[in-house]
């Protein structure tokens, strides 16, 4: 028996594919789309959500027996808002430029449905260790999609990855640009995020037929 039992491991691996928060549960789409024009912003956003979701899940799970069910939404909102304030201040202190790029979307982690959804569906009914794993797993599933979208948008849109010119220099015409490749600036605009995500969903569902919807 390793560090994680089979059931615990499933908590992490399930949300990565067949129960992905974004493509299957349809949660947390807003921030998934808005900040994915750059890979770096996507990664930072994914890490922020992971921190908030994992810690929040543990906190809610520890308090689950003393929260009156009628006011649980308010309690959850206060916990998330407190954690998001911490994340926001940390980002402002250590990555100021990036926090400008993310602008209001860090604040919008509060209203990210993944977080409320996991609190409601999991943390209120399970112990802290399981809730922690569930938080990590779901945030990883969310982050995975974010990073895939961010990867393609930055690569095709500006020919860079994490700011590094991987396809060559568009001005000096080196690398791919030498054979006539051009950046597709359209990838940086917001509609393409939706279309890229639509294509990801298409691919996922054609690989796993059981996920196909009625209409």
């Amino acid at each position: 028996m390793g560090l994680l039992s089979k059931k615990d491991a499933a908590l992490i691996t399930d949300p990565l594919a067949d129960n992905n928060p974004i493509t299957i549960q349809v949660l947390g789409i807003c921030s998934a789309l808005a900040i994915t024009a750059e890979l770096k912003a996507s990664i930072v956003m994914a890490l922020s959500v992971m921190a908030v979701l994992a810690i929040g899940n543990v906190v809610i799970s520890l308090m689950r027996n003393i929260i009156p069910s009628k006011i649980r939404i308010i309690v959850q909102l206060v916990v998330v808002a407190a954690l998001v304030i911490i994340v926001d201040l940390v980002l402002k202190a250590f990555a100021y430029e990036l926090s400008k790029t993310l602008s209001v979307f860090v604040g919008l982690i509060i209203t990210n449905c993944i977080i409320m959804g996991r609190f409601e569906a999991f943390a209120l009914a399970n112990g802290p260790w399981k809730s922690f794993l569930d938080g990590i797993g779901n945030a990883a599933g969310y982050g995975l999609i974010l990073i895939i979208v961010g990867f393609f948008r930055e690569l095709l849109g500006s020919g860079t990855l994490l700011g590094l010119k991987v396809l060559g220099d568009p001005i000096e015409k080196t690398g791919l640009y030498a054979i006539g490749y051009e950046n597709n600036g359209f990838m940086l605009l917001s509609p393409m995020a939706l279309i890229v995500l639509g294509i990801i969903i298409w691919i996922q569902r054609s690989r796993n037929k059981s996920l196909i919807e009625e209409n």
Binding site: T23, V26, L27, G28, I29, C30, S31, A32, L33, A34, A37, E38, I73, I74, L77, V78, A81, A82, V84, I85, D88, L89, E97, K100, T101, S103, V104, G107, L108, I110, T111, N112, C113, M116, S158, T160, G163, P170, I171, L188, L189, S190, P191, M192, A193, L194, I195, L197, G198, I199, I201, W202, I203, R205, S206, K209, I212, E213, E214, N215
Partner: protein, 248 residues
């Protein structure tokens, strides 16, 4: 004039769904039928119209740096004008929103029980709809100058969201009769339609800059785009540097 400009700008150009992707979760989940979409859209307009001005007042008189100066003037609290409580804005805003949503829920349940039942879980979830919090946060970050403009902004962005969900619901009702590839059905095709609609809405972007005419708006928009997209700025700098090299 200012009001009209902001109103149309928040409906079409800065449309909540198509430009900033706010409120996507409920947008996707409740847009299967036009009737429920209209109900939720109306609720969102109402909540935005109330919470944005309320949060504007909160921001202006409590949260902003130096906003507490009235404490000093009226009650003689020393050093109140140096306080900066803006780190509390997330909690304050979400508290206002949660209260208002509760109020809407009670009103809808009383006056239209059928709508209440058809919206189901999504009515309380307006509290965690990013469009609502996003409205207040954008109001704060764009520094909207007056209460009247904040109201205009709230109503405008609410109507923008309403339009978006109405349009997608109408399309989804019709798309049942077309043969979409099985794997793309449901969520996938909805995303792609939304993307295409967003491309359509982008064309409104030229509405305020007025083509070739040089207005005050044009440089502002460019500056914003630069901020959002530091990569482009770098590229632009490089291009300028390159050009000067060539000129030399």
């Amino acid at each position: 004039m200012e009001h009209i400009e902001l109103f149309f700008k928040s409906i079409f150009i800065d449309n909540m769904v198509f430009a900033t992707f706010l409120g996507m979760c409920s947008y996707l989940a409740v847009s299967k039928k036009v009737s429920t979409a209209v109900g939720l859209g109306a609720a969102v307009i109402f909540v935005l119209a109330v919470t944005v001005p309320l949060n504007w007042l909160l921001d202006q008189y409590i949260l902003k740096e130096g906003a507490l100066v009235w404490l000093d003037a009226k009650y003689g609290v020393d050093g109140a004008e140096t306080l900066d409580l803006s780190f509390l804005s997330f909690i304050m805003f979400i508290a206002t929103i949660a209260t208002m949503v509760q109020l809407v829920e009670i009103i809808v349940e009383k006056f239209s029980p059928s709508l209440y039942n058809s919206l189901g879980i999504f009515l309380p979830l307006i509290a965690v709809n990013c469009a609502i919090l996003g409205g207040s946060l954008f109001m704060q970050s764009r520094e909207i100058p007056s209460l009247g403009l904040a109201l205009t902004y709230g109503v405008g962005s609410g109507i923008g969201w309403f339009l978006a969900i109405l349009a997608i619901a109408a399309i989804r009702e019709k798309i049942r009769y077309s043969s979409v590839p099985p794997a793309l059905r449901g969520l996938g095709i909805t995303f792609i339609i939304t993307g295409l609609m967003a491309i359509g809405f982008m064309s409104f972007g030229g509405m305020l800059t007025g083509g070739d005419e040089k207005t005050e708006e044009a440089p502002k928009v460019e500056a914003k785009a630069d901020k959002k997209d530091p990569l482009k700025k770098e590229d632009a700098k490089e291009i300028i540097a390159e050009n000067t090299k060539i000129n030399k």
